[in-house]
């Protein structure tokens, strides 16, 4: 297990190194010149050049990358050009908010999705199964922004039960914090639920047909034990992977949903950075998003091993 984790961490570092080069190059290739943007529309060439020299933009790309990468390794993500502040605290704040959104949404999706999937598999072909399939299809087929708008209209504008946007830190009290989360979470759940429910259903159906489930029944185990102890643990493997990818997705920012609900997470931060051509902020944000994604996947693989003793032992052997 340790060797496996070590290997994965080495790969993770490699992926991030490659990612950092790509991010750096792509942002350099973006239209517009940072120095002239900062200097403003009417600045003279001398002023623009002075800014470029100050930012080190006159140096070769490889040197610029070296400076940037070395800074990141020291934990210095640079300064935002537009906000004129160090990037790290801004990013951390946004990441924290995205984390809250991801954890709450994923917890709901996991519990409800796996539950519905198991229910549909056990009642395969019956009304419950068709209902679950139908409803989850509706969730997946209609775009997320539609649900977002519907929710805003119903709960915010007509019923006036919930705030339609924004964010309240938990220091303001639990209720304001939670009430701001409800609508984005529900939208995310609608978006992600179908896939989890359907995936769980199909792998559960496969597992229910295995010999060990048949043997558990032949031992006279009650159906609840057969389903929960014997089948579910094995059926969850693919679901875990997808949940982890979804986690990385939300953590990396869900631009549309964050925009509609004015939720100040990673998605909105990235959008802001791109619109304002804030190069250091774009670079740092994308890098952190990639890292979050990779870590989520690593967590999934480790969880996978935890659930599946065969993999766990294979790792020990390696």
């Amino acid at each position: 297990m340790l060797a496996y984790t070590l290997t994965r961490l080495v790969y993770l570092a490699l992926v991030l190194a490659v990612m950092s080069v790509l991010v750096f190059l792509v942002t350099q290739a973006m239209p517009g010149d940072v120095a002239s943007m900062i200097a403003g529309q009417f600045a003279s060439k001398e002023v623009v050049d002075a800014i470029a020299v100050k930012l080190g933009l006159d140096q070769p790309l490889i040197v610029q990358y070296g400076h940037w990468a070395a800074g990141i390794l020291r934990g210095d993500l640079g300064r935002s050009l537009v906000l004129e502040q160090p990037i790290a605290p801004i990013l951390l704040e946004a990441l924290g908010r995205s984390l809250v959104l991801a954890v709450v949404a994923l917890a709901v999706v996991a519990v409800v999705g796996i539950g519905l999937g198991v229910l549909a598999a056990v009642r395969r072909g019956k009304l419950t199964d068709q209902l679950v399939s139908g409803v989850s299809y509706l969730g997946i087929a209609v775009p997320d922004f539609f649900w977002a708008i519907v929710l805003v209209l119903v709960f915010g504008s007509y019923l006036k039960l919930l705030p339609t946007g924004g964010y309240a830190p938990i220091t303001d009290g639990f209720l304001p914090w939670a009430s701001h989360l409800v609508l984005p979470v529900v939208t995310l759940v609608l978006m992600l639920l179908a896939r989890i429910a359907r995936l769980t259903r199909s792998s559960m159906i496969d597992v229910l047909q295995t010999n060990y489930v048949k043997f558990a029944r032949a031992k006279g185990m009650p159906e609840s034990v057969v389903i929960l102890r014997h089948a579910l643990k094995n059926a969850l493997l693919p679901t875990i992977t997808v949940l982890a990818i979804d986690f990385g997705l939300i953590l990396g920012g869900v631009v549309v949903i964050e925009t509609i609900f004015s939720y100040p997470g990673m998605g909105r931060l990235l959008l802001f950075a791109i619109q304002r051509h804030d190069l250091p902020l774009i670079q740092a944000t994308i890098l952190i998003v990639s890292a979050a994604y990779c870590l989520a996947n690593l967590t999934a693989d480790l969880l996978y091993a935890f659930v599946n003793p065969k993999i766990r032992h294979g790792m020990r052997a390696s």
């Binding site: 060797a3 070590l6 010999n211 043997f215 029944r217 032949a218 006279g220 185990m221 094995n234 032992h313």
Partner: protein
């Protein structure tokens, strides 16, 4: 309709008590009719099935695939599932009709009074739970034991089924155990609550022959010591002969014969039973004969049979057989047969279509064989999973699949490779076809290095070497017609004319005994035997010299297997093909091979003409393998069985691969030094530390083998 009172087998208590004071049956199945329904219609899986098992009795339920034997076992357990439904009948267990009990009470009986062991131990244990926990489950559920009490009992149970290290095994996950150990664990689970009846559904079919022999021994011992009754579902007549007192033969969901095992297998009364017994490949049979086979395939029923179910394939069938269903004819001793001609046919054996027709004498090949072998394998070695990596903890030495194997195959020669799973036999076959690259050593095909040629992109030699797999269904693309599947190799071989290709395909299909019109059919429309014929026809499409048959008949029913073996033998005789015939079944290989390689742990432990390998001197592994071959009553005396220990570790290291399981191990020398090869003049080679003279002192496993047969053909 079969409503006649005698439609019930004679073993029903009424008849039985009339003849002898036998105890009341523990399990009495009466008139059981089961069907599977789906949108396309219903399929009758069992029609009016009846049999009885008395306390302490083991009854074999035999039949081929589709005979309904497993369905009946599942119906007794109330685990039919998948649209299966019991239409009528009674399942009396200890006098109670199980069908009248609510589902919850039937569940309470399962695993407690009626326990089961299924076919595949590798998939019957839950991979995510420890073995001990799975054995403890029924104890906790049915006997109300605490987990702690159950754990103590689990270790006792594991010890009872012959596991030497119960504590370690109880804590292990299933994948850490060998197949034999897993099956022992399943048997321990079944025994836990001291059931009265065991349902054994092909409990040894997935196991290696030597492991199977040990599990059967264990089951027989346990049934005896625990006074257990058992329903033993199997397709393997030899195994049934070993463990069952009575046997019930199923065909197409109908009981065709029932009676004492010795009588049914030595003097079968029903034509189907006669055919089944005749079609079984026997080591002791004269190999120059074709195997008797049963023509045709099992018909699927949608309702009650309107005629004798076996009539379409029966060589003795008359008009009467085809116009009305057969009633069960019973005598007072518990024997029953569902054939009105049974008495008239009493002395008639299953007809051998070519009883007089010996295989064509094979001429002129011997000299050629000696001069230039078709395939030469020299010091072949294959390692899987070796990896080099910059990360030190990822470097791996790999697993040795084949270790220093050398042999030749002559033109027109059939070389059998016998070994158990993991012996490297399939890897040898793949290396010969350049489907896997040897880690060391060379494979010469007709004097050229096939692997190097294929690497250079030259496919000409590969066309001359083809492959037939075990799984007939999986080796055909389900979306391609038979004709399209066979067309592909022809196109690749550069045959441009479509019309000419079509004719070739028709010719090939006819050659393997299928109608040419089958070219337009899809694989799912064919039976298993027909699909395997298509696979053979496809292999022949490029006019090869050499075919590797990798367990090509292993998945087929006995009657179909005989058909395919005959076909392969014919093709060899007529087209001068060479085969590498890979199998785990030494009886099958003895029927077709000229020479045999016995492989264990990636090494050849014995090699020689088939007649020599079947007689002493034996390699200790060959001897165990031969003694594990199940025999039918009437085939001669059973040899004393040599039971091997379960493999504790994978073979490997410097010594003899078989050392860890060898019953005749000499000592440290076997572990430390590679065994020397003893070779005799007629090409018989044995790799063993035991001197040849000592090996030759052992009694023959098959003393009745004719001397003439022992000579190399």
């Amino acid at each position: 309709m079969m409503t006649a009172p005698q439609a019930r087998p004679a073993v029903s208590p009424v008849v039985a008590s009339a003849s002898a004071p036998k105890p009341a049956p523990l399990l009495d199945v009466r008139g059981l009719t089961i069907s599977y329904g789906n949108a396309r219609g219903t399929l009758r899986a069992a029609s009016d099935v009846g049999f009885a098992i008395r306390p302490g009795e083991v009854m074999g339920l035999v039949g081929e695939s589709g005979s309904g034997k497993s369905t009946i076992a599942m119906a007794i357990l109330d685990l039919l599932g998948g649209g299966g439904r019991v239409d009528s009948g009674e399942i009396l267990f200890d006098g109670t009709d199980l069908r009248k009990l609510p589902a919850s009470e039937r569940r309470a009986l399962r695993g407690d009074r009626i326990a089961a062991v299924f076919q595949d131990p590798f998939t019957s244990l839950n991979p995510a739970l420890t073995v001990g926990r799975q054995i403890a489950e029924p104890l906790i559920q049915h006997k109300g034991l605490s987990p702690r009490q159950a754990a103590v009992r689990v270790e006792d149970l594991l010890a009872e089924v012959g596991i030497r290290d119960p504590r370690r095994v109880a804590a292990a996950y299933p994948h850490e155990l060998s197949g034999g150990m897993q099956q022992r664990a399943l048997i321990a689970t079944a025994l836990g609550c001291e059931p009265k009846l065991l349902i054994l559904d092909e409990p040894t079919t997935a196991l290696d022959v030597t492991v199977e022999a040990r599990i059967i021994e264990l089951l027989a011992k346990l049934c005896d010591s625990h006074k257990l009754s058992a329903l033993f579902v199997s397709h393997n007549l030899g195994i049934v002969n070993r463990i069952c007192q009575t046997v019930t033969v199923l065909y197409g969901g109908v009981v065709v014969e029932t009676g004492a095992t010795g009588r049914v297998l030595s003097r079968p009364a029903h034509p189907y039973a006669k055919g089944l017994v005749a079609a079984l490949p026997r080591i002791t049979a004269d190999r120059r004969h074709r195997l008797p086979s049963i023509p045709g395939t099992v018909a699927k029923l949608s309702g009650s049979p309107a005629a004798c179910v076996f009539a379409p394939r029966c060589p003795f069938a008359e008009e009467t057989c085809r116009s009305r269903p057969q009633a069960m004819l019973t005598d007072g001793d518990g024997d029953g047969v569902r054939c009105w001609k049974a008495d008239a046919l009493a002395g008639t054996p299953w007809p051998d279509e070519e009883a007089t027709g010996l295989r064509r004498p094979r001429t002129g090949e011997t000299a050629e064989t000696r001069s230039a072998p078709l395939v030469e394998v020299d010091h072949l070695r294959k390692i899987y999973g070796a990896s080099r990596s910059i990360l030190p903890w990822l470097r791996r030495a790999g697993t040795v699949a084949v270790e220093d194997v050398s042999f030749t195959i002559g033109r027109g020669e059939v070389v059998g490779v016998v070994g158990e799973s993991g012996s490297g036999k399939s890897t040898i076959g793949r290396a010969l076809l350049a489907l896997t690259e040897p880690s060391a050593g060379t494979v010469l095909f007709d004097g050229a290095d096939l692997t190097q040629q294929v690497k250079r992109g030259d496919q000409t030699l590969r066309r001359r070497a083809q492959l037939v797999f075990q799984n007939s269904a999986a080796s055909l693309n389900p979306r391609k017609t038979v004709g399209a599947a066979m067309d592909r190799p022809l196109v690749l071989a550069g045959r441009a004319d479509a019309e000419e290709r079509r004719k070739t395909i028709a010719g090939l299909l006819t050659r393997v005994g299928l109608p040419a019109a089958y070219a337009d059919r899809f694989p799912h429309e064919l039976s298993g035997g027909e699909r395997q014929r298509v696979n053979i026809a496809r292999a022949l499409a490029t006019d090869p010299d050499f075919v590797v048959c990798d367990e090509a008949v292993s998945a087929l029913d006995v009657s179909v297997q005989a058909n395919i073996l005959n076909l392969l033998a014919e093709l060899r005789d007529e087209m001068g093909l060479s085969y590498l015939f890979i199998t785990h079944d030494i009886a099958v290989v003895s029927h077709i091979a000229d020479r045999v390689l016995v492989v264990y742990g990636g090494t050849i432990c014995e090699e020689g003409p088939i007649g020599r390998v079947l007689r002493p001197p034996y390699h200790p592994y060959t001897e165990a393998l031969l003694s594990a071959v199940p025999r039918l009553a009437g085939d001669g005396p059973e040899a004393p069985r040599i039971l091997l220990e379960d493999a504790a570790t994978a073979p490997g290291g410097r010594g003899c691969a078989f050392a860890a399981r060898c019953p005749r191990k000499l000592g440290a020398v076997c572990d430390e030094q590679a065994p020397p090869v003893h070779e005799t003049a007629d090409g018989h080679r044995i790799a063993c530390h035991i001197p040849l003279a000592t090996l030759a002192e052992r009694a023959a496993v098959f003393p009745e083998l004719a001397d003439a047969d022992a000579l190399p053909r």
